[in-house]
Symmetry: C2
Subunit: 156 residues, 2 copies
DNA sequence: TATTGTTATACTCTATAACTATA
DNA sequence: TATAGTTATAGAGTATAACAATA
């Protein structure tokens, strides 16, 4: 009757409470994302920046030639949402927009000194979050996890 | 000037285009979740069920004694959102609600024959999605990935 | 008093289409 | 014509608080 379990050849290593649901990729990806979001959100909260805002600053600082659309793709959000996000970053005094000379349709978004300082403080916090989040894994396992996710995400 | 890169001791194994952003945990978790959602959504679309609806049926079928709240936790959604989800599943004729005798605050949500048939067809599709999604990895690497995610998620 | 399911509300995010200005 | 940024809008999801029934 519980045929979905029979299809799964794993011996259900941990917690048989839900009969296999918690070992499905969908469950694992959803919950790992949810938990990491909660962790970083709480850790960054004292310096007044959200995980998404930090990620946006991080992208923008690294590559000045990225268009808003390319940054949106890196953040995994829509370009229309990106407009509001940059509006917000600009209103907080963390970035400035100006048209790109060689293609005036595009914007160059650069960090202000305030934005750069906040990014650096945030980066230290995010580094700690990454370590804390992967604390259950050995250094080798953590590296393998990142490489495996990278390989899967890089597949188009 | 690009000091955030200097903080990262990895030699940026793939695609230096974004200077490290795409190897952050936040990026990897977000995009892996996003892509898997798109894959399963498209694959399940022909039989008229969403990934979340399938996941809900899967939870409910495996453990009849789970309360709506416990299923909501497994799905990673709020209990208030779960009400609307079960409403929808019930309206489609896939599940039925009835009060649990020993604790009449709780509902027992059982699958109808229609719901069970749909779950089984969906499960075969999801199995294929999991294989396809991890195709870039060897069987051992895929198993290690699942175990690593499981270990990280299981940490409270 | 605490919990389950429920409803209501406001807020955020997503999806889509259209508009403008540039190319 | 095609693309980048922008705006508008509808729909979905999230967060929060409250309430009734039950424990």
């Amino acid at each position: 009757m519980i045929s979905a379990v029979a299809l799964n050849d794993q011996p259900t290593p941990r917690s048989g409470r839900d009969g296999g649901t918690s070992h499905r990729l969908g469950y694992l990806f959803k919950h790992v994302h949810l938990r990491y979001e909660q962790l970083t959100s709480a850790a960054l909260e004292p310096i007044g920046i959200s995980p998404r805002e930090w990620a946006a600053l991080n992208c923008l600082d690294e590559q000045h030639s990225l268009s808003q659309r390319e940054v949106a793709d890196l953040l995994g959000i829509d370009r229309t949402r990106m407009v509001a996000l940059v509006d917000e970053l600009e209103a907080k005094g963390w970035v400035k927009r100006r048209p790109q000379p060689d293609d005036r349709r595009k914007n160059i978004v650069t960090l202000t000194n305030t934005g750069r300082g906040l990014l650096q403080r945030g980066s230290r916090i995010v580094d700690e979050c990454e370590q804390e989040f992967l604390a259950a894994l050995s250094a080798v396992e953590a590296e393998q996890l990142k490489n495996a996710l990278d390989a899967v995400v890089a597949t188009e």
